[in-house]
């Protein structure tokens, strides 16, 4: 589908330059960045690494000036052996994961946004982890649990808003 010349350049460029990618991601909406995290491992890593930059980025000179600035960005990261465990109330069809802990990594001033995301209460974490905890191990944890979802919320999101259906 793609011409090989483009493929090489795409590899070189979009795979290689973190800050170039960050510049692009700051111009995307929440849902688009979430899609980008799944596009490839590399991008997932960049989103995680540049999360602080992304969450603080002013809504850019894209057509919609009215878009509210982002309040925070979080990564939902599922791992077995974490000290922090949040009970997962949400029932999924595949309930096998319900026994495992969730680490919620928040960038930004979490304390002033005791939000609920989906059915996870971020406030229940107590102390917000620092940006440094964003080391993106997400794709390297052993199967079957390496699943990370990046989420950020516009400032206008109300307390207790559920992101999920």
């Amino acid at each position: 589908m793609a011409h090989s010349a483009i493929e090489v350049t795409a590899k070189e460029c979009l795979y290689a330059q973190d800050d170039a990618l960050a510049t692009i991601f700051t111009r995307l909406s929440t849902s688009d960045v979430v899609c980008c995290t799944t596009t490839c491992r590399r991008w997932c890593r960049v989103v995680a690494k540049e999360a602080a930059v992304l969450s603080r980025a002013p809504s850019h000179a894209s057509p919609c000036h009215t878009r509210p600035p982002r309040a925070l960005l979080g990564l939902f990261h599922q791992e077995e052996d974490l000290g922090v465990t949040i009970t997962r109330k949400r029932k999924r069809s595949s309930s096998s994961t319900d026994d495992h802990g969730f680490m919620v990594i928040i960038v930004g001033d979490c304390a002033s946004y005791p939000l609920k995301v989906g059915s996870f209460s971020l406030a229940s974490l107590g102390r917000p982890p620092s940006v440094a905890t964003l080391t993106p191990r997400c794709w390297r944890t052993p199967a079957p649990l390496p699943r990370t979802t990046a989420v950020w919320l516009p400032r206008s999101t109300k307390m207790g808003t559920r992101l999920g259906p």
Binding site: A5, I6, L14, Q17, T39, T97
Partner: protein
């Protein structure tokens, strides 16, 4: 293509500098235009790039560099005016039109531009190309993004990972 007059005449005869691309092509441009690049600006302020020596740019090939310089030359007068309180709406509209046309290019050229803009630290060009790529990504699914940007097809392993991810977290994408 005529440059607006406002940018000229500020510093008498415009100083020229020479830039040398990775494939040894020499480009002579006004110092004011090359100074849009933060990387080059210091060298130029130090008096480099004049006369016979020129500034080598081993990371930028000639095709890309000429494209970059096209942008710089067009934007230099406005930058010299410091964001231009006296720029007319016509000038601004003209720049905008130029920008839109400028990024209407082949993907491979676009990617080279991204790299060059970051190497040379040309802020305006960085955001211009970033906006273009962002527009290509907007509203697409992960697979569509890969296809649009010409990424190699995912390995079966990656594909399985993506599928499993969507199954579990599909709600986050709605």
């Amino acid at each position: 293509m005529a440059a607006p007059e406002s940018g000229d005449g500020n510093n008498g005869a415009a100083r020229m500098v020479t830039l040398i691309s990775s494939d040894n092509t020499r480009f002579e441009v006004e110092a004011a235009a090359a100074s849009l690049s933060q990387t080059l600006q210091l060298t130029i302020l130090d008096g480099g790039g004049g006369g016979g020596d020129g500034i080598p740019l081993p990371n930028v090939d000639s095709a890309t560099l000429s494209k970059v310089l096209e942008y710089c030359i067009k934007h230099a007068p406005a930058a010299a005016n410091g964001g231009a309180p006296n720029a007319t709406a016509v000038d601004r509209a003209e720049l905008e039109r130029f920008d839109n046309e400028f990024v209407n290019i082949d993907q491979s050229v676009l990617y080279s531009l991204i790299m060059a803009a970051h190497n040379l630290e040309i802020e305006g060009l960085q955001s211009l190309v970033a906006k273009k790529v962002a527009d290509m990504i907007k509203g697409k699914s992960p697979m569509e993004i890969r296809r649009t940007l010409g990424f190699p097809d995912p390995t079966p392993e990656e594909q399985a990972e993506m599928n499993a991810h969507m199954l579990e977290y599909g709600w986050a994408y709605e």
